[in-house]
Symmetry: C2
């Protein structure tokens, strides 16, 4: 129950689509989504494999609560060895796609091999087939989705696809679904592109059955009673994630100009309030409203449109394509997109931020990695390491909005200097001999939280198994109140485990600041076979964390990769709550390893693996 107990395995090399029963023991041990997908990946893929080789697999995994009425029950994960990082990757999306896949009858979709020429996958309940995508190759996500619905005659089909970025091998290409949601980080779209899989279209008309419908209904209602009145929920609904920008700026943890600074003087031109009051040239508001993913009552997503007379939109499409889609409302700026294109690049032009955000969705790029990679390029340029010759005449300075927009376009299409930016910040800075200018951990770019003032986040960044991440642990609330390393190791460890369970359930990690995790346990307990309580969820999360860690250790990572960029560990923050402070992991990391039951090299002890039945 809750699980569909069926997997669809698609081999692109021999064009086979076969189903198999779900391994129920694994589902009991790993739930679904990130956990269960990672278990299958770890069992089936050699950790040392080249991420872009046919031997890597791409797993789309739903959770037991996906497509149920559990609040935010619309999540799914893309699990693979990440093209950006070489580490195990699990990128999580909302929207409608994952629920549709579950409603078609599948818990997991395992994609293997590589197609000889571009294909797309079409799933309609039991029916699954690979079809030629020759006509789609070269098209954006925003062209692909309507094209496929017309081609299939299925206006209700939900689609996940790659844009140009995934085709041309941008290392941080993402898989976009439902126009503006994405399996975002670590280059999961790059892996999909390497397999010549352009898109997955799915129509599901089945239901999902839960184990004890009455208990499940009660558990959902009990949860809603807490979720709906929550002021945090309301803030997310009314102001979106972008609200965070004022908070981090004030606190001095807003990464600015490639982390040279921790506060941005231009914040008022691009923050949530600026977005709210923005009018287009025709007098209509730029911000159209908010929207929610499947089964979500939070609706943190923004819907925006950008000025139809903007030269960015009205200028020639770099690929000669149709830009009319730009004039329709679409996913607006979130905190992370706004931070990455704004403060991190020193740019305070809202139109440009909106445009580059749209472009990221249209062409399938992780906006965090894109913005941070451009920021690194800007610093290389300002340091005269990258020259006008390299950039093809682009004045790639901090604050240059036009250069930001053009660099993003070049990156999406793999053209000119954009091919270098598309390597990601780490490879880019290494190529130009200045590796220390890449704001990355394990090859993945920083999100919008400078770790010098945020002590727990510093540890969370350093230890995240998928490379730098702000979502793999939840120390933030404590960090804003407690600028010391006290208790952070335990907090990071505990919330990493909890997030592992949430990420494997089919629900959204934002819920963890809106209702207590016991409610998730109650919903899972009612939905699934077996007895589920919070303690078991923590054990599942810990098991997942150690499984991911073992994958990475086997892939060649070591404790030396649990570190932060030199800038944050040697150059003190110049302002804010962390003024004069660096990010110092020395004490926290040892305590964290001990709490994890790992040895001094960060390797899980045998007793830890035994305890977790690994």
């Amino acid at each position: 129950m809750a699980w569909q107990n069926k997997i669809l395995r698609v081999n692109l090399s021999d064009h086979s689509c076969v189903t198999e029963p779900l391994n129920r023991d694994w589902a009991q041990a790993y739930l679904g989504q990130r956990g269960l997908g990672s278990k299958y990946l770890a069992e089936e893929v050699d950790p040392t494999v080249d991420p872009l080789s046919p031997q890597n697999k791409l797993i789309i995994a739903t959770g037991p609560l996906t497509a149920t009425t559990a609040p935010t029950g619309g999540r799914s994960s893309a699990v693979t060895k990440g093209a950006l990082t070489g580490a195990i990757a699990a990128s999580n999306t909302g929207g409608m796609f994952g629920a549709e896949l579950k409603l078609a009858g599948y818990d997991l979709l395992i994609i293997e091999g590589r197609a000889a020429s571009p294909v797309y996958l079409w799933i309609r309940d039991d029916h699954a087939e690979l079809r030629s995508a020759e006509k789609l190759w070269g098209r954006s996500v925003w062209e692909t989705e309507p094209w496929l619905r017309r081609e299939l005659g299925e206006p209700q089909a939900k689609i996940a696809s790659i844009g140009r970025a995934g085709e041309v091998g941008v290392k941080f290409a993402c898989i976009v679904n439902d126009i503006d949601r994405a399996y975002g980080r670590s280059g999961v779209g790059t892996v999909m592109g390497s397999k010549q899989l352009k898109a997955i279209a799915v129509r599901g008309t089945r239901g999902v059955r839960v184990n004890d419908p009455d208990a499940f209904r009660r558990a959902v209602l009990d949860t809603m009673k807490i979720l709906q009145p929550s002021p945090v929920r309301k803030r997310f609904t009314v102001r979106g994630t972008h609200n965070m920008m004022d908070v981090t700026n004030r606190f001095g943890s807003l990464p600015t100009r490639n982390c040279r600074d921790v506060q941005f003087e231009g914040v008022e031109a691009i923050n949530a309030d600026a977005v709210r009051v923005r009018r287009l040239s025709d007098g209509k508001p730029s911000l159209q409203g908010n929207k929610a993913c499947f089964a979500c009552t939070i609706g943190c997503g923004r819907v925006a449109t950008i000025d139809p007379v903007s030269p960015l939109v009205n200028g020639p499409d770099p690929q000669g394509g149709d830009r009319s889609r730009y004039q329709l409302p679409s996913g607006g700026l979130e905190y992370e997109t706004a931070f990455a294109f704004g403060p991190m690049c020193g740019v305070d032009d809202l139109d440009t931020l909106n445009y580059v955000n749209f472009l990221s969705n249209e062409q399938g790029m992780d906006p965090i990695s894109l913005g941070v990679s451009i920021a690194a390029a800007m610093e290389l340029f300002e340091e005269n390491v990258v020259t006008l010759e390299d950039t093809g005449g682009l004045e790639l300075r901090f604050g240059n909005a036009e250069a930001l927009a053009r660099a993003a376009e070049l990156t999406a299409f793999g053209e000119g200097f954009g091919a270098d930016i598309g390597l990601g910040a780490d490879r880019l800075c290494r190529k130009y001999g200045r590796p220390e200018l890449a704001m990355v951990v394990k090859g993945q770019e920083f999100p919008g939280y400078d770790p010098r003032a945020l002590k727990g986040m510093a540890l969370a960044y350093a230890t995240s198994n998928r490379g730098c991440c702000h979502m793999r642990a939840r120390p933030l609330l404590d960090d804003f109140s407690n600028v010391s390393t006290d208790g952070k190791a335990e907090l990071v460890k505990t919330t990493q485990d909890l997030v592992g369970a949430i990420d494997s359930s089919g629900t959204c990690v934002f819920t963890n600041v809106m209702f207590p995790p016991e409610h998730l346990a109650q919903m899972i307990d009612a939905a699934c076979e077996g007895d589920w309580d919070l303690e078991r969820l923590h054990t599942v999360g810990e098991r997942i964390w150690n499984l991911e860690r073992r994958f990475n250790l086997a892939a060649g990572f070591s404790k030396d990769d649990d570190r932060l960029p030199e800038r944050t560990t040697s150059e003190p923050a110049g302002a804010g709550a962390g003024k004069g402070q660096i990010a110092d992991l020395s004490q926290m990391l040892g305590e964290y390893y001990r709490l994890r039951g790992w040895d001094a090299d960060g390797v899980p002890l045998a007793e830890t693996l035994n305890r977790l039945e690994l």
Copy 2:
């Protein structure tokens, strides 16, 4: 069940102590503590009465969860017409005293009339009597408690008493229990002093029965499972409330120098970290640890000692008394005490802050009102309105630690200029013709949150029924993330209602940031007759709020009293998140009245009163 169904009514004028059954209908409508005490007060006391007349009553009220195993189930309230404000007052304490009163078999203790000469009340289970306190009058709280235990031969007796401040009529005298806990605000100790009641000693050896013991045990365990792992709980345990000082200072909401400023340059000398590392002259740490109230697993209280060679402690006792108690560990600085004596007075000397904090507990003064009244006096002095002649030679300037200590001593004993400070900031500033310099609402002094940056707190201050208060609503978390007035009226209204229920339950309002209120509803539902859910708790809270409002309106308050000091509404904050902003109530207040079901004058509509069965 949960209630003891018995009231002890003590008439000081005729020395009678009689019991009567609890009004069970009222208990079902108002729970206990603040709510139930207010209902009795409103029924029995004319709102226009002089608070210091025999016609005023002082009600000590426990809640249904007081003295149970519910987490933080040790709270009780002192309800009266406040001497400081003339408004309905309900001051809430922890420690052990309230639970002991409940264990003696009483839900409420109603004290009436006035004794002809000083008395104390001794309760041992069913036995209650008034005894002469002639020997105690003039003694501090710290002398009174051990003296009474010896006198009574009851080392386990729990005691609530007033110090010198309550005797001499300091308007913000409090009732101190268990050495360093207090019914703190609004001059409830002044009322007690006016009745010539020096102390209440109680020994209770009975139990408390809950309605469904198994369900109650489960509800408590379920709550503990959420409370214990909560990072907020841990932060309160490890760092105490004082942790807040860094947060408000960074945010620019730390009232400084009588609200001239919103950030304090000396904060690092007196914040939680400064307290933690402080060593005494003998090398031992000043901070001894933390401590908890009855049934509390948070333990936010600090235990500290101050330097035995400090001239403050070793100097002559202003009253010639015994100061050896100063060398024993006692309640240390909390955020509110530290803010009021520190930034608000511009003082950054930790020893002095500790001393004045000890003095407040020893002599029974509300430290918030004391500090803010001294800050007002300092500004009057700096403005040359109060002169050296007025102060008896005291250089009462911002930042003068010695003057702060001496002014506090003079206030406690009602001597010299201290008699003026003991009027409270409002009457003091009026006396000297500068009413605008009093940082008060409804006559009660500001807590440690400047309302210019904190929009919800501004509304909470203005509308609090007991005068300015940071505990009557909980907008803070939202305020720190959302510096706009959006949604604040609803948030303030909703949390005021919720806090009303928590304050009437026997548990601590801090729990509301550590577990969701459904858990409180579950515990009450298991403990008490009747069906209790969160919706009903909100209704109870709303009923209490409107009852308090009606009392105040009848006492002569009007919508014109729902306002903030002119400084905060006309002088923009100079720094921080509210830089350039004032506290602007205009829009929020109207919305708040509407949400409350009040007319444009802030008077509850008939339909609102009917709905709430008032």
